[in-house]
Amino acid sequence: MTVVPMENISQMLMVLVLATAAIIIMKRDIRSLIKTYAFQSLLVAVMAVVFYIETGIITLLLLAILFTVSKVLIIPYFMGKVQRKLNIKRDVQFHFLSPITALIVSLFIILFVYLAFTPLIGELNRFNSSLFTLGVTIGVSLVFMGMIVIFTRKQTLTDVVGYLTMENGVVLFSLFLTELPLLIEILIIIDLIMLTLIATILAFGIDSTIEEFHSRLNPFMHPKESAEKKTEEDTQ
């Protein structure tokens, strides 16, 4: 049995994160999109644990716990709930790029990011050259791939997944580049949860006028009352 070094594990994790980003660009089923995002966040959390074992910085372990609780459990659970209420199963409309074109474009983005970061490697390198290059390239590419998801998809829920992918990219990038204080990370996570909350609630009526919005939102916020109201209206 070969011994797998830590560096190798984190490389594998990063490569898997990239694969999940590709799946997020391609997938149309919103439930599996959310699951893929949860898996991606889990990979990032595991990577933080790997770094903790390697460097012994306790912040990384706390970060991993924070990620697991917020991004693997809370946010996907909440989004799944909203998705069930909205009763939208698929996102089949695309702006500007079809998923396949988007995937090919993101290939060029990865190449470009790699070429852009090569001159900086000597100055920014924190751990080890090859790991750093791969991590930074994948982190920044992930941000761009999230952006592609945001502008190619029409459903708001998918856009939120794209935004969250971008955030994962930033986290990946920051894991390699510098160490953010835990407080800032916590604030970012709280922001993230709030933003997901607001964005998914807005998803109920983001394509409606303000007048329509309340009538669309109310059945979801107060299902009982509106059901009673509806039966009243029906009887009248």
């Binding site: 490389q11 594998m12 391609m26 396949i100 995937l103 990865i110």
Partner: protein, 313 residues
């Protein structure tokens, strides 16, 4: 001595592929049946089918030409030769063997080409439909296959499959790009062995069938040869994936003990892969024909990323 060893390798490998490949067809069927709550056919069912078909008479359509007669033989011959390239249980010593991945892929393509021709040959509507679909899919998946194997060649700095396995066996650390290649190879296995998101191997439903439509006109011994060759193709591709991702156990010396260990190890690994394929097949529905490029694009993307990492980083 060396020549004898090579000869032994060729005989062992070819017979192993020939004998074991139907087992995996039944195994995947069994896994799928279990996920659907059925008992499923016995593991020996594919062997029984083949034995029965071999006893039956071959019927040719009046309109068919020599292509119909030659195709099963060309198919099985191409696959038998191709099976020499993929060491399943015994890795021969590095020699100046003729042939590399390009020849391997072309042999598979040759078999596929003649299968499509035979589909057209009898002049039945289903055959033509199947051939047309198969060629449309091939036109999309072949570049991906070439890219995946090219990235394998870059990862191991060689174009010979035994040397790749040797590289995989020798490497002490797990190269992360292999993971990407493995996902792409998995997709290729799904496409090439006509499995669920692409084709449905179970039905003869005219709307969906691809592979089955092409061999609809085959009968008797010829049908047996066609089915055996598609089972062999599946096992060969599975062998490439298994021996690159988990090379442990692959025997590189020719002694009965290590061969036996290697045989066991390969069977365990391949059975796990077959179960994964069966579960994957059960977990997704057959997708619409025009959505298939999406599946191929993921394989293409991962192969390209591998190339970027290998060439630049």
């Amino acid at each position: 001595m060396n020549i004898l060893l090579l000869l032994a390798y060729g005989i062992i490998n070819t017979f192993f592929v020939l004998l074991v490949s139907p087992l995996f067809i039944s195994l995947i069927k069994k896994v799928k049946a279990h996920t659907q709550g059925r008992k499923g056919p016995s593991l020996l069912q594919t062997y029984r089918n083949l034995a029965k078909l071999l006893k039956k008479e071959t019927v040719y359509s009046k309109n068919s030409s020599w292509i119909m007669r030659a195709t099963p033989i060309i198919n099985i011959a191409a696959l038998l030769v191709a099976s020499l390239f993929v060491p399943m249980i015994y890795l021969p010593e590095p020699t100046n063997l003729v042939g590399n991945i390009i020849l391997f892929l072309y042999l598979l393509a040759l078999a596929k080409f003649f299968m499509a021709l035979a589909g057209l040959d009898a002049g039945s509507t289903f055959g033509g439909m199947g051939s047309s679909r198969e060629m449309a899919i091939s036109a999309l998946i072949e570049p991906v296959i070439i890219l995946v194997f090219a990235s394998l060649a870059f990862a191991y700095n060689t174009v010979s499959i035994p040397d790749m396995f040797r590289g995989a066996l020798a490497s002490t650390v797990f190269d992360p790009v292999i993971l990407l290649i493995a996902i792409s190879l998995f997709i290729i296995i799904i496409v090439e062995s006509s499995r669920v998101p692409v084709d449905n191997p179970e039905t003869h439903l005219e709307l969906t069938m691809i592979h089955e439509a092409m061999i609809l006109e085959q009968s008797g011994k010829n049908l047996a040869m066609m089915e055996l060759s598609s089972a062999m193709k599946q096992l060969l591709l599975m062998g490439v994936l298994v021996n690159i991702l988990f090379p442990w156990g692959l025997a590189s010396d020719f002694s009965p003990a290590s061969i036996a260990v290697s045989l066991l190890a390969f069977l365990v690994k391949a059975i796990i892969l077959a179960v994964v394929i069966g579960l994957f097949e059960s977990s997704c529905a057959k997708s619409r024909f025009f959505r298939l490029p999406g599946l191929f694009a993921i394989a293409l993307f991962l192969a390209m990323v591998t190339l970027i990492i290998e060439v630049f980083a």
